[in-house]
């Protein structure tokens, strides 16, 4: 049963009840819901990427669809198609799994460019065209996509322009030893039931509306812009982040303040969220491989190079 006035903290608690550790991942998923943006999760197999997305979807009373991306997937498999109804003698539209409040695009980089493009167009426009008709996607609409950084054989790299549509990219790291022990204890006898219906889809829409009212001081806005500009021309960076990154950073800072029930965003919000906003929006110089550099370290240095206000 959906709570009448669910708070984002309720979803956060529901996720923590299922997922062991992974605080940054759990927070990013909830922030994506509040900010109305899509989130990309990258991590090795078995680190609870899919489980985290399922737990988030379960906590919201809305529709959830999961699509396993494969090389033979077609755009119509996710968007929908027109089929001829022999009884009526007319074409009918069958909506694809993209028509859901929460869509899990599992292993997004395993589908060819056409499918990625169809998905990402829907993510950006929040509507899709099937045959002669354009259909609005439901609200709220959030895509959670997962990627595996290993096993790159048979994958299709997502271009920067498409990655830019994701509000944030979160790295799902291996758990610590204590966390791994807790995972074995919690999941040893099978997966515990997910907490379902903690909040309603209407609650999420209300959060998105209210989060717009979170105050962002001009100093903080300038700090976000300075951070984005610092990605351009930074050492070992070929292409820096676009202005969309500044919008994403401010939106996420607002969402974080809203999550923790603050009326205003702080420099900590902006600084802490900057890596998640930048890491998929930057392309690196070839020298990074020669220097044995770590892209995450490059992002950390860029963030550290800009003093907070």
């Amino acid at each position: 049963m959906a709570a009448l006035s669910g708070r984002p903290r309720d979803v956060l608690d529901a996720l923590h009840a299922t997922i062991v550790g992974q605080d940054e991942v759990v927070e990013a998923l909830v922030l994506g819901m509040i900010a109305g943006g899509h989130v990309l999760l990258e991590g090795a197999p078995g680190v609870a990427k899919t489980l985290a997305c399922r737990a988030l979807a379960a906590s919201i009373t809305g529709t959830f669809r999961r699509v396993q991306f494969t090389p033979d997937l077609l755009p119509s498999d996710i968007v929908g198609t027109r089929v001829f109804d022999q009884k009526s003698g007319e074409f009918a539209t069958v909506l694809g799994p993209l028509f859901a409040n929460v869509v899990l695009a599992d292993e997004i980089n395993r589908a060819p460019a056409k499918v990625q493009s169809a998905l990402l167009e829907g993510m950006q426009e929040r509507r899709v065209t099937i045959g002669p008709q354009t259909h609005d996607l439901p609200a709220p609409f959030v895509v959670l996509a997962t990627m595996n950084p290993f096993d790159t054989d048979g994958t299709y790299a997502l271009p920067l322009a498409q990655l830019d549509r994701f509000l944030a990219k979160v790295i799902v790291a291996f758990p610590s030893r204590d966390e791994e022990r807790a995972i074995v204890d919690r999941f040893g006898a099978g997966e515990p039931p997910l907490r379902s219906g903690v909040v309603s889809a209407a609650d999420v829409l209300r959060w998105q509306d209210e989060a717009h009212g979170v105050f962002v001081d001009a100093k903080l806005r300038d700090y976000a812009i300075d951070l984005v500009r610092a990605t351009r021309g930074a050492e070992l960076v070929a292409h820096g982040a676009s202005p969309r990154a500044a919008l994403a950073l401010v939106a996420l800072a607002r969402a974080r303040a809203y999550l923790y029930e603050r009326a205003f965003a702080t420099p900590d919000d902006v600084r802490d969220l900057a890596p998640a906003v930048f890491r998929h929006r930057i392309s690196y110089d070839d020298r990074i491989a020669i220097a044995g550099g770590d892209p995450e370290e490059v992002v950390r240095r860029i963030v550290a190079s800009v003093p907070a206000p």
Binding site: D217, K219, L236, F264, T266, P267, R301, S305, P307
Partner: protein
């Protein structure tokens, strides 16, 4: 021992305006404590200078190592003070401290080095009085002779220098690396800074004075400019100071509707900490 140069990836872009090193005593005895201070001045508002590599202290016993970063209008001053105790006699030369960075002037990886420092350590019981231990007549003769000859030399050199300065145009500003640190007056404490900033804020509660007070509170917590609230609260265990830092954050970044109340809380919390 000098560390290996940092890899290119680790270098950050810095304007290093000064890097110098000095000892508060250069002649002392075994067992006497002295300080070796390294001073770096950069134009960037940094909160730490991890790139600063101090010299190897050899056989000397390291009793303390403190690093302070102070914000300045033009960047930051970093002072690292090593407290040392020689364990054996001899002449010791400390190689220069250095900073590896991308020189912001040229965009190239560079090593900024300080001067080296020589310290003479004698065995215990040896005095450094030198000729002053000799007989009174010898001392008097030496002193008078030195004054007469020295005075003449000073007059000649002074006259030549005066003529040179008048004849030549003013030189261009010197390359600032390395440069000896300017001599400072008596050090002001963090409380002094906060108290003064608080007075200014009470007299004129406007944005500039608010940010000055916030910066002073951050510095009191041990966090320089460019740090965030979480850095500052992590740097201090003082609960009163933490409360003042949080109040400063509300006043600096909160919405206009709550600013007056936040400013009053900031004044109250700052006063509590100063008490």
């Amino acid at each position: 021992m000098l560390a290996a140069p940092a890899p290119v990836l680790a270098l950050r872009k810095l304007h290093v305006d000064a890097l110098s090193m000095r000892a508060d005593r250069t002649r002392l005895q075994v067992g006497e404590v002295f300080h070796l201070a390294i001073h770096a001045r950069v134009r960037e508002p940094i909160v730490a200078l991890d790139e600063l590599v101090v010299p190897d202290v050899g056989t000397m016993q390291l009793l303390g190592d403190e690093r302070h970063v102070t914000s300045t209008p033009g960047g930051a001053d970093v002072v690292e003070t090593l407290t040392l105790e020689p364990t054996q006699s001899g002449t010791f030369t400390f190689a220069g401290a250095y900073v590896d960075a991308i020189d912001a002037r040229t965009g190239k990886p560079s090593r900024f080095s300080s001067n080296s420092v020589r310290v003479v350590v004698e065995k215990p019981g040896v005095t450094f009085d030198g000729p002053w231990t000799a007989s009174a007549s010898f001392v008097a003769t030496t002193v008078v002779g030195t004054i007469v000859v020295g005075g003449f030399i000073v007059l000649v050199i002074g006259g030549l220098l005066f003529a040179l300065v008048r004849a030549r145009p003013k030189p261009a500003p010197p390359n600032p690396v390395p440069q000896a640190p300017a001599s400072a007056g008596p050090p002001r404490t963090a409380r002094d800074e906060v108290a003064e900033a608080l007075r200014a804020f009470r007299a004129a509660p406007e944005h500039a004075s608010l940010m000055r007070l916030r910066t002073a509170l951050f510095a009191a917590a041990g966090a320089g400019p460019g740090a965030t609230l979480s850095d500052a609260t992590a740097a201090t265990q003082d609960e009163r100071l933490r409360a003042a830092l949080v109040a400063a954050e509300h006043a600096a970044f909160g919405p206009a509707a709550t600013r007056e109340r936040s400013a009053a809380e900031l004044v109250e919390e700052s006063e509590r900490w100063l008490r």
